[in-house]
């Protein structure tokens, strides 16, 4: 089974469990979803519950908000985070505020799913990683399933949340293969999770870069360095306790984030670590982020722009072996 299949199973399960659940978005029906996630669901559930929409991100995201207020449990698919910018008004000005502006009268049990990330030579307009931006907004919950369990398990608790939940699916993960038990394990949408325990340095990441961090941890083990890999899973609200627990144990942190460095989620995590764990740190916090450039098309340039396993290994080695951080050395932003 693939990550894509796991996500489809999650949708099928939600559509079966609760008749108020419906899916809408561009090409989710007849086309089967632009990444094939919803393939077959139209035949199974019909056009009322698997709705193809026009190319109107603002209208169908806003319609999801209205439908949620009206007692339904909509799952809105936006093809990719890049196009979600056309629905920013609805997400930021309505979904995130209506509960508050109404003095707590309105619940918005809405799920918005979208693909995020780069790495497939799609160039600048199809390669954004803006989940960190959305994590800036009070009133939203931001999920980044990186494993099959989370792809399968996060949707249902997200639908049970009375607040808008955004699920970011990294495009490079859809074909990832794995096994899931017949009865899929329940997962929460609150906590970060240690994916590999270790003692010397915490590699803190989420989404598509989880697998790069795990590969880096393998390499580091060969160097005699025991790296812990912490998967944030939920970017808002952040699991401060898990961050603190990991870093007070390892005393070193490398944050890996496919978003840009400036004003990013990695900056937020680094700031929290200095606020909460300053006296436990034995080395400056390191960050491995995307270069501050629109993601280029050419393969070698794209690879150079994105966080890679080698970058993570190098950064982790620096924190452990006590060298000057490369970013400071080169005077990079």
């Amino acid at each position: 089974m693939t990550y894509r299949d796991a996500m489809r199973e999650a949708l099928r399960d939600a559509l079966r469990r609760d008749e108020r659940v419906f899916l809408m978005g561009e090409d989710v029906g007849r086309y089967g979803g632009c990444f094939g996630v919803s393939k077959g669901l139209l035949d199974e559930f019909g056009p009322e519950r698997v709705r193809d929409t026009p190319l109107s991100e603002s209208a169908f995201v806003g319609a999801g908000i209205g439908a949620a207020m009206g007692g339904m449990r909509p799952v809105v698919e936006i093809m990719t985070v890049n196009f979600s910018l056309l629905a920013l008004d609805q997400i930021v000005n309505n979904a995130a505020t209506l509960t508050h502006m109404s003095g707590g009268q309105l619940a918005i049990p809405l799920v918005i799913r979208m693909t995020t990330g780069a790495g497939r030579q799609l160039a600048a307009q199809h390669s954004h990683s803006l989940e960190g931006w959305y994590a800036h907004i009070p009133g939203l919950r931001i999920l980044t399933p990186a494993t099959l369990e989370d792809a399968r398990g996060m949707l249902w608790p997200a639908l049970c949340d009375p607040n808008p939940v955004l699920i970011f699916e990294h495009g490079a993960l859809y074909n990832m293969e794995g096994e899931l038990p017949e009865e899929p394990p329940e997962v929460d949408i609150e906590s970060a999770m240690v994916r590999r325990p270790g003692d010397d340095v915490s590699l803190i990441t989420y989404g598509g870069t989880l697998w790069k961090a795990l590969a880096a941890a393998d390499e580091l083990a060969g160097e005699g360095i025991s790296a812990e890999v912490l998967d944030l899973r939920v970017l808002r609200p952040l699991d401060d306790a898990a961050l603190e627990a990991s870093v007070t144990k390892t005393h070193r942190a490398v944050i890996v984030d496919e978003g840009w460095r400036s004003g990013s989620l990695s900056a937020e995590v680094a700031a929290r670590l200095t606020e909460r764990c300053f006296y436990d740190l034995d080395a400056p916090v390191e960050r491995v982020c995307s270069e501050e450039v629109p993601v280029p098309y050419a393969k070698h340039l794209e690879e150079e722009a994105l966080p890679q396993v080698d970058d993570i290994v190098t950064a982790a080695m620096r924190t452990v072996r006590g060298q000057v951080p490369q970013a400071a050395e080169a005077g990079r932003v």
């Binding site: 439908a67 007692g71 508050h100 502006m101 109404s102 707590g104 009268q105 009133g139």
Partner: protein, 324 residues
């Protein structure tokens, strides 16, 4: 086509509702000058016939979405005036608990969904409310009010198209008061005949004299019947005029005083009185004193209302209740 003559009782109700809104807002202006009310204050004075006429045509379970100029809509829909006034004061007794203010009046039990201060921002959720109602098998309609300024926004076009495509029960009620802040319609639209835009989405569309409360009521009633019966959305342009400034900070450089004076001859309250011969001077006095008493009480209650403790600041960022 003229609207049917109302019964004396109905005429009196319409009059009282329009007078309530007018006097409510006049009080707000005084209270604004006295710094009791702050923030943006957008007055509906002159446009009362639109909200009052339209609300007559709605049934109890119908949903309403409005804009930041929505005191009149909230009052006409039945949100109690003391809750609205308390909201203006930022009191916890306000209809949005003091979190919304003038531009964000909400009342969930009445299905009054705000109070949206982003021009065009209320249209997509209105489409979604209608979608939910239809999927749940309810025969309700969603009345979505917006100014003619919103017609230039993409959200207007996306929402009109989606509602028409899916034949959803939305009443699009465009309050054309000729100006979006200082921008006249002909300075922002290549096509100023708004019904043509709706017609291009295959949606029935009429233009109505929005200074005539009876005409508004009649038109919205007819449109609501068709929308409720599953005929898909309808669009009404209500031609109206705002007598006051856009908000409290508007020197009105963009329109002539004579123009405003000319429109004041069309005052919807006076026109109703003129149209309905049998409203006596006693009737008018009685309405005024009823309204005055109601508003005295509303202001007193708002004055006496309480402030939410600052320790509650971060409440209501997420929903605190349980989902059904």
């Amino acid at each position: 086509m003229s609207a049917p003559a109302p019964t004396a009782e109905h005429a009196r109700d319409l009059l009282r509702e329009m007078v309530r809104i007018r006097r409510f807002e006049e009080r707000c202006v005084e209270l604004y000058s006295a710094s009791k009310i702050r923030g943006f204050l957008h007055l509906y004075i002159g446009e009362e016939a639109v909200a009052v006429g339209a609300m007559q045509a709605l049934a109890p379970g119908d949903a309403v979405v409005a804009t930041y100029r929505e005191h009149g809509h909230a009052l006409a829909r039945g949100v109690p005036s003391d809750c609205v006034m308390a909201e203006m004061f930022g009191r916890v007794e306000g209809c949005s608990g003091g979190r919304g203010g003038s531009m964000h009046l909400f009342h969930a039990p009445l299905r009054f969904y705000g109070g949206n201060a982003i021009v065009g921002g209320g249209l997509p959720p209105a489409v979604g409310l209608a979608l939910a109602d239809r999927m749940r098998g309810a025969d309700t309609v969603t009345a979505c009010f917006f100014g003619e300024g919103a017609v230039a926004e993409g959200e207007f076009h996306e929402s009109m198209n989606l509602a028409a495509l899916w034949r959803l029960p939305v009443l699009f009620l465009c309050e054309n008061n000729l100006y979006a802040m200082g921008t006249a319609l002909e300075r922002s639209e290549s096509e100023t005949q708004l019904t043509l835009k709706a017609a291009s989405y295959e949606m029935p569309a009429w233009s109505v004299d929005g200074m005539d409360v009876l005409a508004v009521e009649d038109a919205v009633r007819r449109a609501a019947v068709s929308v409720r019966a599953g005929g898909g959305p309808s669009f009404l342009e209500l031609r109206t005029y705002r007598f006051r400034a856009h908000s409290m900070y508007d020197p009105e450089l963009y329109r002539a005083k004579e123009e405003v004076e000319r429109w004041k001859q069309e005052d919807p309250i006076e026109r109703l009185v003129a149209a309905v011969g049998d409203l006596s001077a006693d009737d008018l006095d009685a309405v005024e004193s009823e309204v005055a008493a109601e508003l005295d009480a509303a202001v007193a209650a708002a004055e006496a209302g309480s402030l939410e403790p600052a320790s509650d600041l971060t409440r209501h960022v997420t929903y605190e209740g349980a989902l059904a």
